[in-house]
């Protein structure tokens, strides 16, 4: 062990001390051009858990109908950032935030704005697939609609088929829609969760490491699915897997210690990053 030139852990520990952590407005090189429709327009966004600041002065424009990947080491704030986009972070008591977050022009945190209404437009898929164990495949897909008062059988049937088609699951489950959702394989369960999110017809889909519990084949299917989703939806995906970010996203944002370090077109980020920290991270030298 001692003969190795430098242990990665030691490197990671010393990294913050060596590199300046000032925010990088210069990352503007990768910002969307004016003509592009913006899904999330976020300015000077900071978030605290109690006294601990988890996000610091993040300014970013996430384009509509494109896939934006959020990368960064554990604890960098990327999941917190994602959960703030549909106010899921409010389930954690003691959070506080500053700054402006807009989704297609609508203020997400304006006075009187209800998190419930936001989440119908900004859906979320989680790291671990979580179909409801008491419900069949069909009931899982339709639960969001039913609980929001949709009773029309024709509408429900149409959404059921459409959502499962979009989640690339229809052919595998169409003959046993009444089996429990939990009877499916891990990858199928995750696609079922995607179908469940799509059924309520959101504009944007947030994905929090959706493949980290899946095998490579199931991961490939989800990544393929993300490529088709971007035609109709805005997708923001948090991932630990840099190959995944490189493969399936249009834009990549690199977070480190609560700050947005660099944001740009995915190809530039991975081939020619402008920030030395980004370069160190994407080339696997830390994190």
């Amino acid at each position: 062990m001692s003969s190795l030139p430098e242990a990665p852990a030691a490197r990671q520990a010393s990294e913050p001390a060596r590199v300046s952590l000032t925010p990088q407005p210069a990352a503007a090189a990768g910002l969307p051009v004016e003509s592009e429709e913006v899904a999330f327009d976020i300015r000077n966004f900071s978030l605290w858990y109690g006294a601990r600041q988890a996000l610091m002065d993040v300014t970013i424009k996430i384009p509509a109908r494109k896939v934006t990947a959020i990368i960064g080491p554990s604890g960098c704030g990327k999941s917190t950032f994602l959960r703030a986009l549909n106010r899921m972070h409010e389930l954690t008591p003691g959070t506080r935030l500053e700054g402006s977050l807009r989704h297609f022009g609508q203020d997400l945190y304006g006075p009187g704005v209800e998190a419930v209404a936001i989440r119908r437009r900004v859906g979320m898929v989680f790291q671990k697939s979580n179909p409801f164990p008491t419900m069949s495949i069909a009931e899982n897909v339709l639960v969001g609609l039913r609980l929001n008062g949709v009773r029309d059988k024709a509408v429900l049937q149409e959404r059921l088929e459409k959502s499962l088609h979009m989640a690339a699951l229809w052919d595998e489950v169409k003959d046993h829609l009444n089996r429990p959702g939990t009877s499916l394989s891990g990858g199928q369960q995750q696609r079922l969760c995607i179908a469940r999110s799509l059924a309520v017809q959101p504009q944007t889909l947030l994905m929090d490491e959706p493949c980290s519990a899946l095998d490579p084949l199931a991961t490939a299917k989800i990544e393929e699915l993300i490529q088709t989703l971007r035609q109709d939806y805005t997708v923001v995906i948090v991932t630990h897997n840099m190959q995944q970010a490189a493969r399936c996203s249009d834009r990549t944002a690199f977070f480190y210690m609560g700050r947005l370090i660099e944001y740009g077109n995915t190809r530039n980020m991975f081939t020619n990053p402008s920030n030395p920290q980004t370069e160190a991270y994407v080339s696997g030298r830390f994190g």
Binding site: M88, V116, I118, N130, L147, N148
Partner: protein
């Protein structure tokens, strides 16, 4: 051959075996002593009660003093009526209280609520009878099925509340998040998704509580009072198995004593059946998880 340092001397090994056998024997005796009373109860009830159980016991009313035969049909129906009416009070209050504890209350409020529930669980059952007597029997000027059900229902509340809380806390947070992320209001997430996931556990808690109160006599003594006839009016006294057993057991007639044993056997069978139902429900639940 040189003695291995890991082998004990022969005496030491023998002494250790003696100690080991002695400790094992003590533990086995204690374990038997724990389950022996159950078998004793069942044995005595069968020996003394089984011979008095016939169709008449389940279909006929008690006979007037001096006549032999008759049954406890009214008491069996009365106990079932009282349990059903007690559930109307105990289940909603207990379940909603448990939902509040698991999903809504602040830590501080919950500490107090749990403490109150634990104290209520320890309130002697005769005290519940006195409370119901003061609340209902005195103002309504009469013993009634209502008063008996209220006494039993109030006993159920803390039991159901704590078990409901326990099973709701076991529902993974990820289901709540998944439902909230669909834009479903929080109360619907809790009342429909979370409660449905925990439904078997909640049902188990309710049945455990029913089994607990089914045999209670003291809360009924000055509320339901007992009755030797069919009760068609819940504002009137109603018969119950434990009350009938009590009345017959302290009577001077051999025939009534036999009937008391039979009643005790039926009551015990009912409670045993409820407990078996609980086992079946919780086995299903464990398999599901």
């Amino acid at each position: 051959m040189e003695a291995s340092p890991y082998l004990p001397s022969e005496n030491f090994a023998r002494w250790r075996k003696v100690k080991s056998t002695a400790v094992t024997a003590v533990l086995v005796v204690c374990a038997l002593a724990v389950i022996a009373p159950l078998f004793l109860v069942i044995y005595f009830l069968l020996v003394n009660g089984a011979s008095s159980i016939d169709m008449n016991f389940f279909t006929q009313l008690p006979k007037p003093t001096g006549e032999s035969g008759g049954g406890m049909a009214n008491a069996i129906v009365g106990t079932i009526t009282l349990l059903a009416m007690a559930s109307i009070i105990g289940v909603p209050l207990g379940v909603f209280g448990g939902i509040y504890l698991a999903e809504y209350g602040s830590d501080r409020a919950n500490d107090w609520l749990r403490f109150a529930a634990d104290v209520l669980n320890g309130v002697p059952s005769i005290v519940w009878g006195m409370v119901a007597w003061l609340m209902l029997v005195v103002p309504l000027k009469g013993f009634s099925a209502y008063a008996g059900s209220v006494a039993l229902g109030l006993m159920m509340v803390p039991l159901v509340m704590r078990t409901t809380e326990e099973v709701l806390v076991l529902v993974p947070q990820s289901y709540r998040e998944a439902a909230l992320a669909l834009g479903v209001a929080r109360w619907k997430v809790i009342m429909i998704i979370v409660v449905r996931t925990a439904l078997k556990g909640i049902a188990t808690g309710v049945i455990v509580a029913l089994a607990r109160i089914a045999g209670e006599t003291a809360p009924l003594l000055f509320t339901a009072l007992g009755n030797n006839f069919w009760n068609h009016n819940l504002k009137e006294p109603i018969a119950a198995l434990p009350l009938q057993i009590y009345a017959y057991a302290i009577s001077p007639y051999d025939d009534w004593h036999r009937q008391a044993w039979a009643g005790a056997l039926v009551l015990m069978a009912l409670i045993l059946a409820l407990n078996i139902l609980v086992r079946v429900l919780s086995r299903d639940r464990n398999q599901q998880n």
